[in-house]
Structures are given as C-alpha cells and as structure tokens.
Symmetry: C2
Subunit: 213 residues, 2 copies
C-alpha cells in the first residue's frame, strides 16, 4: 500500500459536470484524479487523462471502456455507490485530502446521497465537495468555538443531523444560540459577517457547512 | 378564507427551471400557480401568468415587480424560505394538493432545504416535488404495508431521517428487511420490480420516496 499523506486526490463523480473554469482547471492540474465511470465522457471531451476509472461500469460506453482498459477498476458490489468506490480507492492509496467534483446536479437522490456521504467520509480524510454554486465540508464541532474561514457576505448554510445537538455561532448574520437543526432547512440562508465565523456545540458533533463561491 | 379541497395548486420555486415538456405543460395549464419571486423571469419568458408572486422580493427585477404589482405578495420575514412562503399561502387558501416545480438544481443548500421541507409539509397537504429527473413524495408508513405505485425498472430511493425506524419492503430489487437508513445514502439506488411496491415500518414514520421518471 502506498502512502500519500501530503498529496491531494480529486474525484469526478457523475453528476453535473462543472462549468466553472477554476473547477475545470483543478481537473486539468490534478496530481491524482479518479473518475466515476459514467463521467469519463466529460474528461474525454476535454482531453484529460485520469489515473483511474472506477465503478460498476454500467454507465461507460464500450468505446471508452476499450480505450482506457489500462486504468479501469471494475467494482461490481451494489452496497456502495460509485462515489464511495472512488473515495475508498483513494483512501486505500493513503490520500488524506480529497476534493470531490461533479457530485451534485442531475438526479436529486444521487445529490442527497453524495452530500450525506461527506459525514461518513470525515473520519477517513479531509474532504471538500465543490460545485459551480458552492462547497460542502464537514467540521467536527465541540464546546470550544471552531473557526471557519469565510468572506464578508458569503452565504452560509449549516446542516446537522442529530436533533440533540445545539449549535452556537459567532460572526454570522443570524446568530445561532443553542439552536437545534431538526429540519435540514433550519440552518440555511445565513451569511458570514467577515473573514471567518465560529461554531460551537453542546456536545461533539459533525456539522456539514455549505459556503457559496 | 377560501376553501379549495379538490383543486390543485402549483408552485414554481427558484431552482433549475424544468426542461421537461410535460412539466412546462403543467405550468401552462395550472388552475392555480404561485411563483417564488426569483423564478418569475422564467414564466415571463414563456408568457405564463401566475396567480401570485411571493417572496421577500430580493430576487425579482424592478421591471417585473412593476409590471406584476397587482399579484405580488411581499413577505419580508427571514425565518422561512420563499418556497415555504408560497406553500403556506396555498395552504391558507385551502389547497390540499400541491405540486412543486423548480425546487432543485443550482445551489445545493436550497435543494437540501426544499427537499427536507417536504417532511414538514406532509401534515398540511398532499405534496409532490417534480423535477426533470424524478419526483419526491412523503408517505406515512406504519406496520401494515403501504402500497406505492411504480413501474418495472423504475429507480427508487428511500430517505428516512429517524435512525430508530426499521423499514421493510416488498417488490423492490434490493429488499429492505427491518433496515434503518441512518445515512441518506443507505436507501438509494433501489429499483421497482413491477407496477407497485410496499413499505412497512416497526413504528409510524414519514419516508421520503424518490422515483425516477
């Protein structure tokens, strides 16, 4: 098993392909790029060669499958989706920082699943999901305030699945004071007042933070 | 207060505007249509006149605001999003069946919030969220099997927020047997084997069901 603790891996999933130029540049320049099989057609169109193509191979054309057979990793099991297959392949190689692109848009059930998987991935690596609209990242929040970078006017949404957690914020436009977020909608539509804000909680928890570009 | 128990209301939210022709026809033919302010530009382009334009009016152009001032309902409060403002306006008029379009796509925090609000709306009306990719609907599931219409090969995803709930299914490709869905990803990527399937649970709960078109 290789070990790449300081290197970053990128995963392209099979949702909406990024339109944002900066995100496409990330794909071009990625030092290690894994693509979920159905998304290989986007890379082919942009002449980007990934290091691995992973999935159950249900959604890649026979032409692309033949052309890139040297880098295809077929995983047939049905208990995880293609994003998870790609993620744990990167983990198996020792990557500790993983950026996920193309994980939202199109089928909404895939979007929901991929976003919620970030909570699962948190214990394995630092993971950032980036789209044309914003970024999702999971933070481990405790009683002492955790500082999260932002910019003034950045739209912030907070998601926390555990109804017994009460969150407190500083430097957000609509402050949270021992607030639970039983519905995913309750923590949305907030705004950063400056270059950072803080979150703390009544007990250790994971909070999914969405920040607009 | 009027009462329209047998009439259907439609809401257009400010996510991705539907490309699907059948969904656009629904908007054209709606007997009662409420639009979230930011989405009015789409209706204007298609020459569709809504019955009400609702929201905090932050995201509608001055031109459209002036042109349609006879049907604008401005609600400034910041504790609910524009979709909820539109929803409870329909509820206040007595509508009991509400179809929501344009509630997903674009900003992912809005998508998550709008989908999770379906669980909140369930006690007020029969609500269907429709997109170019599928439909979300909330069902009250109990110990006796609840029959849900489908078609053979339809992709099905199930979401249930309560980790103490155990779900059981029939006529799904990957059967659930007293299964909890602690992560939103766990109930995705299933498939209907025929024209219906059933769900039952160890205790009364709400299940969010996604079905592809």
């Amino acid at each position: 098993m290789k070990n790449h603790p300081n290197k970053k891996a990128f995963i392209l999933a099979n949702g909406s392909f990024p339109k944002n130029k900066a995100l496409r540049t990330l794909l071009h320049d990625a030092e290690f790029l894994v693509v979920c099989d159905g998304a290989m057609r986007h890379l082919e169109a942009l002449d980007i060669l990934p290091h691995a193509i992973i999935g159950d191979l249900d959604s890649i054309s026979p032409q692309l499958k033949a052309k890139y057979q040297d880098r295809i990793i077929e995983i047939k099991e049905q208990n995880s989706n293609d994003l998870s297959k790609a993620f744990f392949y990167c983990i198996s190689l020792g990557y500790k920082e993983i950026t996920i692109l193309g994980a939202t848009g199109k089928r909404e059930d895939h979007t929901l699943a991929n976003i919620s998987l970030l909570l699962h991935y948190h214990s394995f690596a630092k993971v950032i999901l980036r789209s044309d609209y914003g970024t999702f990242q999971t933070f481990a929040i405790k009683q002492s305030p955790h500082v999260i970078q932002s910019f003034k006017g950045q739209q912030i949404s907070l998601f926390c699945l555990d109804p017994s957690v009460q969150l407190t914020s500083t430097k957000l436009k609509y402050p949270l004071n021992d607030l639970s977020l039983p519905l995913w909608a309750n923590g949305t539509l907030n705004e950063a007042l400056g270059t950072d804000f803080t979150l703390s909680s009544n007990k250790p928890t994971l909070v999914l933070v969405y920040q607009t570009l």
